[in-house]
Every structure is written in C-alpha cells, then in structure tokens.
C-alpha cells in the first residue's frame, strides 16, 4: 500500500468521479473484515492500472489518518458512540431551527417574547431534548421500563437507557419521577451541577439557575455535586439544593415540588416576588413586581396552568393591581389608595 508524501496538492490531475467512487468501494470492502486474498490482489491491480486511482487512494489514506488519534485511544468506543449521539442531536437542532416559529409553542406573540427572555444555548438544548414541554404545559410520560415522569412548564430532559444503566439528563425546568423497580439497572439523573441516584423512589428534580433542587417523597435519593467529594442520601420528606461544588443542608420537602404535577402552585408564606417568578415560568413573557409590594407574603393554592386566573386571585387577596400593559408584559404594582402591609 503506497504511503508516500502527505501533500494535499498532488502534482497529478484530479481523479475522475468514477475513480473516487471505486476508491470508496474498495475502502469499504477492504476494511469490512470480509475481504479475501483475491480481493486484495484485485485491489492492487486496480491501484496500478491508472494514476488517478493511485491519487484517489492517497485521499482515502489522508481521510483515514484523521481517525488515527481516536483509533489509538483507549476510549475509542466511547468516542464513536458519543459522536453518534451528539451528531444525532445536532441534526435535530438543525431541523428545529428551521421550524423556529412553530416550535416556540403557545400563542405566537407570547411565545416569541418568552423566547427572547431566555439565553439561547439553554433554549436550543431544550428544543432538541428527547422529551420537552412548552411554556404553560404540564405533562406526564411513561418510559419503556414503566418509570413515570411528569414534566413541569418549559421543561426538557434526555433519556439514555443503554448499558446497565437508566439515565436521564435534566436540561431545563423541573421533573417529578416515579421510578419503576429494576434491581439490575440503577436509575440516575444528571444535571449541570452533578448527579442523583434513585434508591427506589418518587422525587422531583428542578433546575433553579445554577442550582439543582431535589425533593424526595418516597424512598431515598443519593445526591452528589459534580466537583465536591461530598454525597448525601436524601430521605422521603426531605429536600436539598446543590451547586457544582457545594451541597446545602437538608430541609423538609416543600409540598409545592409535588403539587405542580396536578397543575397547582402551593405557596406557604412566600414573598410575592417569588410567586410571580414561578408564575412567569408558566405564563412566559415578562412578569415584573414593583419593589413596594415584592415582599408581601402569600399563602394558598393557585392554578399554575391558568396563570392569569392565579394573578386575578392574588389581586383579590392582596393590596395590588395587575397591569397588563401588553399580553406578554405584565406588571404588579401597589393598588392606589391601599397601603401595603408588612
């Protein structure tokens, strides 16, 4: 096999289309594991029969050489598989971007405005995730092993059930998982901050900016931040939050982390600003709160999947006014004449 100089600009003329096709066929045959000695002899004859064949084969070798660093790596199988997964995902993104308008979901203007308020990379990853919900949508899916997953508004996750592992990656928003028992296959959830291992359970995982929140309702979950050596088991009735490097103290599980699956926002003595932020996740667009009323405490159950009704309910129990400047631009301000209480 000729392995002479590596110059990309051969002195000989360009190979004809047929020579390129033949070279590709020969390559596919010779590396297939099914080539016989007669085949190799034929190939040698083909190579010697015309200059352009020799040139074409030189190209084949150049291309093959690009794989060398991968081929000689102990992680090559992982690299090839990883490439396949990434490539598939990226192809889906191209298709998604072509259908941008349709994909934004919900009513046109509201959806467009919601899109503008999110940073692009996270949104794009959500578009190409295996499972996702639009703004305001709450949905439940059953995975192939019987595990149930509820997705909150504007949430997305990828599923990877190969090998001896059941793995989800939470890409956006919040999910509640009820795992199906499978003694042979551990169940893990990855987030940008680290990982969780389910120990036979029902639990919610939520992305809150740079923090992962996990609340457990049945069984137990092992929480492990990416960089920290620390790991902790969270039991039913408990919750915690962690960044990539730190794990916060365990607290009592917030009922709200389960109530959303029924389309309900449960609020137990929380500042209005936080309630507004949560409602915005379901409503999209902009939902601002004036500083004078941002600290008003709120309690009760509100319809998360009908955020405008929730806002109307808030308006009826608090000294506030909800101003709809535009459908997707809403402000909460003090009601005139009312004095905001502590």
């Amino acid at each position: 096999m000729s392995s002479s100089d590596l110059s990309c600009a051969p002195q000989s003329p360009q190979p004809s289309p047929q020579a390129l096709e033949q070279a590709a066929e020969w390559f596919a045959l010779l590396r297939s594991g099914e080539a016989r000695d007669e085949d190799r002899a034929q190939w040698q004859r083909w190579l010697d029969s015309a200059q352009e064949n020799d040139t074409a084969w030189r190209y084949v070798e150049q291309i093959s050489r690009r794989f060398e660093p991968v081929r000689s790596s102990p992680g090559r199988a992982a690299a090839a598989r990883g490439f396949g997964i990434a490539n598939t995902r990226m192809a889906r993104r191209r298709q998604a971007l072509l259908g941008l308008g349709a994909l934004a979901g919900g009513s046109g203007l509201l959806a467009w405005a919601a899109w503008r308020h999110t940073s692009l990379p996270g949104m794009v990853m959500a578009w190409t995730a295996d499972y996702r919900t639009a703004t305001g949508e709450v949905r439940n899916v059953a995975l192939s092993d019987g595990t149930q997953v509820w997705l909150s508004t504007a949430s997305a996750f990828d599923r990877d059930y190969r090998g001896g592992l059941r793995r989800l990656r939470l890409v956006a928003g919040e999910i509640l998982i009820q795992t199906a028992a499978d003694p042979d296959r551990p169940f893990v959830v990855d987030t940008p901050q680290g990982g969780l291992r389910a120990l036979g359970t029902r639990f919610a995982v939520r992305l809150d900016g740079d923090v992962t929140v996990v609340a457990v309702f049945q069984g137990a979950v092992e929480a492990r931040p990416a960089d920290a050596g620390a790991m902790r088991i969270i039991q039913a009735g408990e919750q915690t939050r962690f960044t990539g490097s730190a794990l916060a103290a365990t607290q009592a599980a917030d009922r709200a982390r389960e109530a959303w699956t029924r389309g309900i926002l449960i609020v137990e003595n929380v500042p209005l600003a936080d309630v507004a932020r949560e409602l915005q996740r379901y409503r999209g667009g902009h939902l601002g709160v004036a500083p004078e009323v941002a600290g008003l405490r709120v309690a009760g159950s509100y319809p998360a999947t009908d955020p405008d009704r929730a806002l109307a309910m808030l308006e009826s129990v608090l000294p506030i006014r909800v101003r709809h400047t535009l459908p997707w631009w809403v402000g909460i301000e003090p009601r005139q004449g009312a004095v905001p209480g502590g």
Partner: protein, 185 residues
C-alpha cells in the same frame, strides 16, 4: 495563505467593533469567557480574509455572521466533547483520559465532524463507528442495529462524500478553535 489586510485598517475595525461584538456574543452565549474567545477568533478570521468594508453596517454584518458560525462550532465542540465524556463515565473500566489526550481526541472528532456535517446522520454515525473503532461490518451491524449490507453501503457512501471534499480541497478547513498547526502529522 492570503496576505493580511494592512495593519492600520484592522486596528480601526477592532477599535470600532470589538466592544460591540463582544457584547453581542455575551448576550447570545450567556457568559463572558466564551464571548471574549469567540470575539478574538472572529477578528482573526477577519484578518485572514483580508476584507475591507464600505461602512459600519457591512463590517458588523460580516462580523456577526462570522461570530454566529463560531458559536455553532463552539456548540458542536461542546456537544461532541460532552457526549464522549458521558460515554467514558459509563465505562469505569477505561481510565479517565488526561486533559492533553482529551484535547487531541476531541480535535480529531471535530475534524471528522467537519468532514461529515452534510452527510445523512445514519451514514455518518456508521462510518465513525466502523472506522474509529476498527470494527468489522458484522460487529458494526450489531452495534448499530442494521444489516452488514447497510454498513458496507454507509461506509462507501461516507468515504465517497469525504473523497469529494478532499478533491475539492475544502476538507482541509479546520474547525473554529483549532490552532493552525494542530493537524496530525
């Protein structure tokens, strides 16, 4: 390599547009480190292309297009890198690669990705699986869940695609973050 644009006009372009470009990238990417890197790379490309512009609008349109392409390249790089690391994590028997080794393998995968970008996904994935892992058609067929006949077809299809690029000379184009001399010897 084309002769670089006269130094003075590049300086002017830099003064006029670098701050704006970096801000645009920061908003698009959500972080300032990547934004600084890509702004730098965009101006490098501008220098290599030795372009001149009639006005600010034309210059910014060019820079914005270049920067957008660099964003896509960066995203692809991260996707490929992360997918590989995820796969390695699921294989505890393979020792974690050194940072240097990682960089070399990721760079090779990016070059391969650049070659295969406009190829149908299944053919590209089969090609990489067969060639990168040195699998026989039968092994690759089992791994991918297709017939050996399909594997042979995909490999030939992909190689032909690459050969055409090679013949046109466009296969030599390196992905965004590669230093000029990163090609394997």
């Amino acid at each position: 390599m084309p002769s670089p644009a006269p130094a003075r006009s590049i300086e002017e372009l830099y003064c006029d547009h670098h701050g704006w470009l970096q801000g645009w990238l920061r908003r698009k990417l959500g972080n300032s480190f990547d934004a600084a890197d890509l702004a730098h790379d965009a101006f490098l490309r501008l220098m290599q292309a030795s372009r001149s512009f009639d006005d600010t609008l034309a210059a910014r349109a060019y820079l914005r297009t270049t920067a957008s392409n660099l964003c896509v390249d960066l995203w692809r790089r991260r996707q490929i890198e992360q997918a590989w690391l995820d796969e390695l994590a699921a294989r505890p028997e393979v020792a974690a690669p050194s940072t240097e080794h990682q960089a070399i393998v990721v760079q090779a995968l990016l070059e391969i990705d650049a070659m295969l970008r406009s190829l149908p996904v299944k053919a590209a994935n089969a090609f990489v699986m067969a060639v990168a892992c040195g699998m026989t058609d039968r092994e690759a067929a089992e791994e991918l869940g297709v017939s050996t006949r399909m594997v042979r077809k995909y490999v030939a299809q992909a190689m032909l695609h690459c050969l055409r690029l090679e013949a046109r000379g466009t296969a030599a184009e390196l992905p965004a973050h590669a230093p000029a001399d990163a090609r394997p010897a």
